[in-house]
C-alpha cells in the first residue's frame, strides 16, 4: 500500500513540477519595426541582430520592415500601436548644443505629439531638462547634462545602439584637401568646406550626391538632411556654427547678450538678396518673427517660441527679448533661422492666412536668399544646381554646387569612380566597399568623422512590458553594441548609450556605453527574475497574476 502511494506520488512529480512555478501569461510575440532593407540595410541588420539577442531572453521577436511613409505614419501618429522600432536622430550643426535633443526627446510635454516617441514620463528628468536649458554657467551646465545622461541610463527608454561615423569621399585630383574644413561632429561635408573649397584643376563645379530626394526648398521648411545642405548655402543666417562647433556671427556683425533674456544683434551692412535688393534690418526682424505667425511655419515655430519681442534699435541693429533665459538660444535659434526677404515672403504669409497650406509647401520659382550660392535650377528628384554668388562677402572659389539625386547606392559609387560626381556626401551602403574603392582608385580619398547623431531602438512605454524599467534594462543589457557597430554598421560606428555623441567632447560622458545596467545575458536574466518574471522552459512569462492584455502588433 505504502509502495503504491509512493509510486503514485513519484509519478505525480513531473506533473506538479511543470506547473510548480506559478507564472503570469507568456509575453506576447514582439515586433521590431524598421525601414525596408533596400532603404537602410544597416538599420535592418541591426534590428535582426537585436531580435536574435532578445530571443535569448525567452522572447519571440520578429522584424517587420515598413515602407518609408507607412513607417513614419505608424511610429509618429499611431503611438499606441507599435512595440519597438529602430530610429535615429540625425546630426545637424545646430545640434552641437545638446539642448535640442536633451529637452525634446524626453520631456513629458512631448509625449502626445512631439519627439518623446516612447512616452517617458519622469518629473525628475523634466526638471533637469529645464534646468540645463537655463543654466548659463558652463561647468554647472555640464554637470546637469551628465546627470541627465545618468538618469536616462538608469531608465533605459531607448536601447541605444551606435553613434555612426559619417563616410565622405572626394576626388583628390579635383579638390585641394587643405581647403576643406572639418566640423566637429559633422566632418568635411559642411558649409565651410563648400565656401572655402579650392579647385586644383579645370573642374570648378562641386558635384555632390544624395540618395533621397529633398522636400521643398524654402527658408521656412526643413527639407531633410540632404536638402539642408542646399538651403544652408542659399539662405544666410544671423549666426552659423563654426568648424569648432561654436556659434559665430555670420550675417550679423556682432551678437551680444547684455542680460540673461536679451540678445543684441548688429546686422552686417552691404548684403544683397539674390534679386539685387539690399538686406535690411526689417528683413532680419521679419525672419525672426515670421515663423511665429500662426501655424504657418510649424517646423521653425518652436525655435522662436521663446522670443517675446524684437525691437529695432538702430539702422542696422535690433534687440531680441526672450521670455526665459535660454542657454542654447544662439545655437538652436540664431544659427538655425534663415534670413528671408520680407518683400517676397510677407505677401506670401499674408496670402496664406486664409488657406490651409503652410509656408513649408511654398517653393518660389527661383528661390531668393542672400547666401554665398544662388539657385540656378532644381528638379527635386534629379538634381539641384546652385551657382556662386559673386557679390557675397564670402564668395566661394568654385563656380557651381550641384547635388545629384540617385537612390541607387551602387550607381553612386560608380559615379564617383567615373567622375560624374566628385564628392560622395551621402553614402548609406557597405563601408567596406567604399574603403576598397579608395584603395584601388588613387584619385579617391575617404574621410570619416564621428557624427553628432545616434541610432537606437525605441521602447514604447505605452505598451507593457515596456513600461517596466526592469524589462527595458534587460533588453538593453543583452544588446552587443560592439557587434552592432562592427557588423551591422560595418565598423563605421561606435557603441552608444546616450544621445550625446563623443563628437561633442565637452558634453559627452565617456565610458557611459560600458555602464548599461546589467551588461550581460546572465545579468539581464537576473534583472528579470528579480523583478518577478518567470522563465517557463525557454519562454519568458510575466510575473504571477499578470495577464498579457496588449494585442500583438499587426
Amino acid at each position: 500500500m505504502k509502495r503504491w502511494l509512493v509510486a503514485a506520488g513519484l509519478s505525480a512529480i513531473p506533473f506538479l513540477s511543470a506547473n510548480a512555478q506559478p507564472a503570469g501569461d507568456a509575453v506576447r510575440p514582439l515586433v521590431i519595426l524598421t525601414q525596408p532593407q533596400a532603404a537602410s540595410p544597416q538599420d535592418y541588420q541591426a534590428a535582426e541582430m537585436t531580435a536574435e539577442a532578445w530571443k535569448a531572453l525567452g522572447l519571440k521577436v520578429t522584424v517587420r520592415p515598413l515602407p518609408g511613409q507607412q513607417f513614419n505614419q505608424i511610429v509618429w501618429y499611431e503611438r499606441q500601436r507599435w512595440d519597438t522600432t529602430t530610429w535615429q536622430m540625425v546630426g545637424r550643426p545646430e545640434r552641437s548644443d545638446p539642448d535640442e535633443l536633451t529637452y525634446n526627446l524626453f520631456v513629458s510635454a512631448n509625449i502626445a505629439n512631439g519627439y518623446n516617441l516612447v512616452g517617458l514620463n519622469s518629473p525628475d528628468y523634466d526638471k533637469l531638462a529645464q534646468a540645463q536649458r537655463e543654466e548659463l554657467d558652463l561647468p554647472k551646465r555640464q554637470a546637469l547634462i551628465r546627470q541627465a545622461q545618468e538618469l536616462i541610463n538608469q531608465q533605459q527608454p531607448y536601447g541605444f545602439m551606435v553613434h555612426p561615423k559619417n563616410l565622405v569621399a572626394f576626388n583628390q585630383t579635383v579638390w585641394d584637401e587643405s581647403s576643406m574644413q572639418v566640423q566637429a561632429g559633422i566632418g568635411i561635408r559642411n558649409f565651410w568646406t563648400w565656401t572655402n573649397l579650392k579647385p586644383k584643376g579645370t573642374q570648378k563645379d562641386v558635384i555632390v550626391n544624395s540618395v533621397a530626394p529633398p522636400t521643398n526648398l524654402s527658408p521656412f521648411n526643413i527639407p531633410g538632411a540632404q536638402g539642408s545642405w542646399a538651403t544652408e548655402l542659399v539662405w544666410d543666417r544671423l549666426m552659423r556654427i563654426g568648424p569648432d562647433g561654436l556659434p559665430r556671427p555670420w550675417a550679423a556683425e556682432s551678437v551680444t547678450r547684455p542680460t540673461a533674456t536679451t540678445v543684441d544683434v548688429v546686422l552686417r551692412s552691404g548684403m544683397k538678396w539674390h534679386d539685387g535688393l539690399p538686406v535690411t534690418i526689417e528683413d532680419a526682424v521679419f525672419s525672426l518673427e515670421a515663423p511665429g505667425f500662426g501655424d504657418k511655419a510649424p517646423m521653425y515655430r518652436p525655435f522662436v517660441g521663446n522670443i517675446a519681442k524684437v525691437d529695432i534699435t538702430g539702422p542696422m541693429s535690433l534687440r531680441i527679448t526672450l521670455k526665459r533665459p535660454d542657454a542654447a538660444f544662439l545655437v538652436s535659434s540664431l544659427s538655425k533661422l534663415n534670413l528671408a526677404p520680407k518683400h517676397i515672403w510677407a505677401p506670401i504669409f499674408e496670402d496664406l492666412k486664409n488657406k490651409p497650406e503652410t509656408a513649408e509647401s511654398i517653393m518660389e520659382k527661383v528661390p531668393v536668399g542672400s547666401g554665398p550660392f544662388k539657385f540656378v535650377s532644381v528638379k527635386l528628384t534629379e538634381q539641384i544646381v546652385l551657382e556662386a554668388n559673386k557679390d557675397h562677402w564670402a564668395k566661394p572659389n568654385v563656380d557651381r554646387w550641384i547635388m545629384r539625386i540617385a537612390p541607387n547606392v551602387e550607381a553612386t559609387l560608380g559615379a564617383l569612380k567615373s567622375g560624374e560626381i566628385n564628392f560622395l556626401t551621402d553614402y548609406t551602403g557597405d563601408p567596406d566597399l567604399l574603403t576598397q574603392l579608395a584603395k584601388s582608385t588613387p584619385t579617391i580619398k575617404v574621410a570619416d568623422s564621428l557624427d553628432i547623431g545616434f541610432r537606437f531602438i525605441a521602447y514604447n512605454e505605452r505598451r507593457p512590458p515596456f513600461n517596466d524599467v526592469a524589462f527595458r534594462r534587460a533588453l538593453s543589457a543583452v544588446m552587443d553594441r560592439e557587434a552592432l557597430a562592427a557588423d551591422a554598421y560595418g565598423g563605421a560606428a561606435v557603441p552608444a548609450n546616450s544621445w550625446i555623441s563623443p563628437a561633442l567632447a565637452f558634453w559627452a560622458d565617456p565610458g557611459i556605453d560600458k555602464r548599461v545596467p546589467g551588461g550581460s545575458l546572465a545579468a539581464a536574466k537576473k534583472i528579470l527574475t528579480d523583478a518577478g518574471y518567470v522563465f517557463v522552459g525557454n519562454e519568458l512569462h510575466y510575473p504571477v497574476g499578470v495577464k498579457e492584455t496588449t494585442p500583438v502588433y499587426n
Binding site: 521643398n216 490651409p356 528628384t381 534629379e382 550607381a411 559615379a415 560624374e420 560626381i421
Partner: protein
C-alpha cells in the same frame, strides 16, 4: 471600316471610364492618412484638419468621385504632395523619357526579332536552331532587372563604357526635351536601359515571326508560286512576309502599350526618369495624387494601344471583322 472604328472608339471610351473609376476606388482605399507626407510631425491637429479639408478629403465618396471625374476631364490631376508641383507637369516631364525608351527598345527588338525570326524560319533543323530557340526563350524567361544589373555591373561599373544611371550627366540641363533628344549625352545614358529592354523584348517578335512565317511558307498558294518557278527569296518578299507581318505588327502595338507600364523595374535599376520610376517613388512615399496620375496615364496608354492594335489588325487583314456574327 468606319463603323468598325466608331465601334472600337466607343468601346475605348467605355473601358477608359471603367478603368478611371476603378482607379478612384483603389486609391481611396490607400492606408493611412494620405496627406501625411505633406505634413510635418510638429503640425497641430487644427492645421491637419484644415489641410484635409483643402484637399476635399472630408467630403462624401460620391462628391469626391464627381470632383475627380470633372478634374480628369479638364486634365487637372492635382498637386504632388512630395514635390509641390502639379501632377500633370511632373508626368509631362517624365512621359517623353519613357516613350523614347520604349520606342527605341521596342523598335530595336522588333527589327532584330523580325530579321532573326525570318532567318531562323529558313534555317530549319541543325545546330543553329537548336541553340537559338532555347537561348531566345531564356532571354524572355530571365527577370529584366536581373539582366539590367548584369549589364550595369559589367559594362558600366567594371568596364566604365556607360554611365551608371540617370538620363543626363550631372550639371547638364537641357532647356527642353527636344534639346535632350539631340544631345549625345542623353543617348549615351539611354544605351544600357534600352539594351536591357531590347534583350528582354526581342524574344516575342523573333518567335512569332518565325512561327507565322513557317505557317505561311507551307501555305498552298506559296507552294503554287514555287511550282510556278519563282525564286524562294522573291516568294518570301512578296507573299509570305506580307502575311507574316500582320501578327507582328499587332504584337508591336500591344507591346507598346504593355511596355509603358512594364518599364517600371528597368527604370528603377537605371534611375531612368520615366513614368515607371515616378510611379514607384510615388507609391513608396504615399504621394497619392502622383501615384494615381501615373497609374491613370499608364492605363490610358495601354487601353489606347490595345484599340490601335485591334484597328490595325482589322485594317491589315480584311478577312476579320469585329463582332463575328454567329
Amino acid at each position: 471600316m468606319l463603323r468598325l472604328a466608331a465601334g472600337r472608339l466607343g468601346h475605348l471610351v467605355l473601358v477608359l471610364w471603367v478603368v478611371t473609376t476603378l482607379t478612384f476606388v483603389l486609391f481611396r482605399l490607400m492606408p493611412g492618412d494620405p496627406t501625411l507626407n505633406f505634413l510635418s510631425p510638429s503640425f497641430s491637429q487644427e492645421t491637419r484638419a484644415a489641410l484635409l479639408k483643402g484637399f476635399g478629403l472630408d467630403r462624401s465618396l460620391w462628391e469626391q468621385y464627381l470632383i475627380y471625374m470633372g478634374n480628369l476631364l479638364r486634365g487637372e490631376l492635382g498637386q504632388s504632395f512630395l514635390q509641390g508641383k502639379s501632377v500633370a507637369a511632373l508626368l509631362g516631364e517624365a512621359l517623353p523619357n519613357t516613350v523614347i525608351l520604349t520606342l527605341v527598345s521596342l523598335t530595336a527588338a522588333y527589327a532584330f526579332g523580325i530579321v532573326a525570326g525570318a532567318f531562323l524560319a529558313f534555317r530549319r533543323g541543325g545546330v543553329v536552331e537548336a541553340l537559338a530557340i532555347p537561348t531566345t526563350l531564356a532571354t524572355r524567361a530571365a527577370p529584366e532587372f536581373w539582366l539590367g544589373m548584369l549589364l550595369l555591373a559589367g559594362l558600366a561599373f567594371q568596364a566604365g563604357w556607360f554611365p551608371t544611371g540617370g538620363a543626363l550627366s550631372p550639371g547638364k540641363e537641357m532647356g527642353s526635351f527636344s534639346e535632350s533628344l539631340i544631345s549625345a549625352d542623353y543617348w549615351w545614358h539611354l544605351a544600357l536601359p534600352a539594351l536591357t529592354l531590347m534583350l528582354f523584348l526581342q524574344g516575342l517578335p523573333l518567335l512569332l515571326m518565325r512561327a507565322t512565317m513557317l505557317e505561311v511558307l507551307n501555305d498552298e498558294f506559296i507552294v503554287m508560286a514555287r511550282m510556278k518557278g519563282l525564286s524562294r527569296w522573291s516568294i518570301v518578299m512578296r507573299h509570305a512576309a506580307r502575311n507574316a507581318l500582320l501578327p507582328v505588327v499587332t504584337a508591336f502595338a500591344l507591346g507598346l502599350g504593355a511596355s509603358i507600364g512594364g518599364n517600371v523595374v528597368v527604370e528603377t535599376v537605371f534611375a531612368w526618369p520615366g513614368i515607371g520610376r515616378l510611379l514607384v517613388q510615388a507609391v513608396q512615399s504615399a504621394d497619392y495624387p502622383l501615384a494615381q496620375g501615373a497609374f491613370l496615364l499608364i492605363a490610358a496608354v495601354l487601353v489606347v494601344m490595345n484599340t490601335v492594335a485591334d484597328l490595325a489588325y482589322a485594317a491589315l487583314d480584311p478577312r476579320v471583322s469585329v463582332g463575328a456574327k454567329r
